[in-house]
């Protein structure tokens, strides 16, 4: 079976079946991940659709660096930000859920040396966590994070500084 990078090569040559295969492999996790950042299913569906339209048209420009999954996510989150900016109504972010009881996976998943970071992260207020998630975990710029969260860029910066300070205090 062709790996993702080979699929991108076929897509660049106009192979529609290769795009269908790529979609079947990546649409599910992208949908779940987008849905965690926006509760409006119409926005999620449109972002997903535009991601693969962009992948179809941009496959020729993919340089083969890094993971295809990361590349697709980079497109998807930015498409969603663009869509949210066009909406007159505010699209609320999915709320921060109640922490569930820590399970056995946690010890593997959040490896021991990061356990303190995880605890500290979970103690941050939802506002601060959203900024950390957008800038650090999703790799967005300050401007993109501001558009996603629909807050001014200055607020992103001050919240990030505050989050950094709290995390540093928690870890010292």
């Amino acid at each position: 079976m062709a790996d993702d990078a080979a699929l991108i090569g076929s897509i660049a040559r106009g192979d529609r079946d290769a795009l269908a295969t790529l979609y079947s492999r990546h649409a599910s996790w992208l949908q779940v991940r987008l849905r965690r950042r926006c509760v409006d299913d119409d926005v999620v569906a449109e972002a997903l659709q535009e991601t693969f339209v962009a992948a179809w048209r941009g496959a020729g420009r993919w340089r083969g660096e890094g993971d295809v999954g990361a590349w697709l996510w980079g497109i998807a989150i930015r498409r969603m930000i663009d869509l949210l900016a066009k909406r007159p109504r505010h699209c609320p972010l999915a709320g921060v859920p109640d922490p569930v009881v820590a399970s056995a996976e946690e010890q593997v998943l959040v490896r021991v040396e990061y356990a303190d970071v995880a605890t500290a992260l979970n103690r941050l207020s939802p506002d601060l966590v959203a900024v950390v998630q957008a800038t650090v975990l999703d790799g967005l710029t300050t401007r993109e994070a501001a558009r996603l969260l629909q807050i001014p860029q200055g607020t992103v910066k001050t919240r990030m500084a505050r989050a950094r300070l709290l995390l540093r205090e928690a870890l010292s």
Binding site: D4, R16, L19, A20, Y23, R25, H26, A27, S28, W29, Q31, V32, R33, R35, R36, D41, V44, A45, E46, L48, Q49, F52, V53, W56, D67, G69, A70, W73, A94, G95, V96, P97, D98, P99, V100, S103, E105, E106, V108, L109, V110, V117, A118, T119, L121, N122, L124, V129, Q133, L137
Partner: protein, 269 residues
């Protein structure tokens, strides 16, 4: 490669929004690089939404790409389907655009020669809006006929939409005319007769059919220019103040008729 993989319960909790931030972030980082966990999360995704988005993707890819002019119309507030109707390119329309560019190029070339050469531009340019309007009609004229026949648009709106591409070409000819003829008044000489001919074309088409209407009006115009040449000794006679006044009356009348028609069929607009 990671030897650890997220189990089904963890993926279900993540997809259901039931994980705290730190663990959700960990799952996301893992998913970005792990094909087997990406496959394992599929049962927890929204299958209906994913099928809908795929149908949308295929639909977008099958649709021809939007031209810059189409995007401009959408940006100006036209609905995407209306913009498509307005710009749907056919071989005839492309030939017309090429013809307008040729007229403009001819005018620039004529600028370097004697004045009478530039007057030929004045003679030909008024026919450009008329022939552009002709492309708003008929199966023989443009290939989108089937689409248009099935579209839920009232005829007047449809024709006006199809006439929209005439505007940029009119502007092009106006600009080039400004280069060719001294003074803006000279450049705009052909504009009113041109628009009047186009308006007459819209009316005459209903009475005698599109081909006869366009051909007849073009022949009438060329005849008028020729007789002006003979009687007054100059092509400019066809652009006399009387002709300009008559042309503005025709254009104004057509605009009023269109507005009244629009008010009557407001529910369609």
């Amino acid at each position: 490669m990671t030897v650890w993989h997220a189990d089904d319960a963890l993926l279900a909790a993540y997809a259901g929004g039931g994980l705290d931030q730190a663990r959700a972030a960990s799952v996301e980082q893992h998913l970005t690089g792990c094909a087997s966990c990406r496959a394992a999360i599929a049962p927890h995704a929204d299958a209906a939404l994913i099928a809908r988005a795929w149908a949308g993707t295929v639909d977008r890819l099958d649709r021809p790409r939007t031209s810059p002019f189409e995007r401009l119309l959408i940006a100006l507030g036209l609905s995407p389907s209306a913009a498509r109707l307005a710009t749907g390119a056919s071989a005839a329309r492309r030939a017309w655009v090429a013809g307008c560019v040729l007229v403009a190029g001819f005018a620039i070339a004529a600028r370097e020669m004697d004045g009478p050469m530039a007057l030929w531009f004045l003679t030909v340019a008024p026919l450009a809006p008329l022939t552009g309007v002709a492309l708003a009609y008929g199966p023989g004229v443009f290939s989108m006929h089937e689409v248009v026949a099935a579209a839920p648009y009232p005829r007047l709106r449809l024709v006006l939409l199809r006439c929209l591409p005439v505007l940029p070409m009119t502007v092009l000819l106006l600009v080039v005319g400004g280069l060719v003829l001294p003074g803006t008044a000279g450049a705009a000489l052909w504009l009113l007769p041109g628009l009047a001919l186009a308006a007459l074309g819209l009316v005459a088409e209903r009475l005698v059919g599109v081909q006869t209407a366009i051909g007849g009006l073009a022949a009438l115009w060329m005849g008028g220019v020729a007789s002006a040449r003979i009687t007054t000794g100059s092509v400019l006679g066809a652009f006399s103040p009387t002709v300009q006044l008559l042309s503005s009356a025709i254009v104004l009348g057509a605009v009023c008729l269109a507005l009244v028609g629009a008010r009557r069929t407001r529910s369609f607009w």
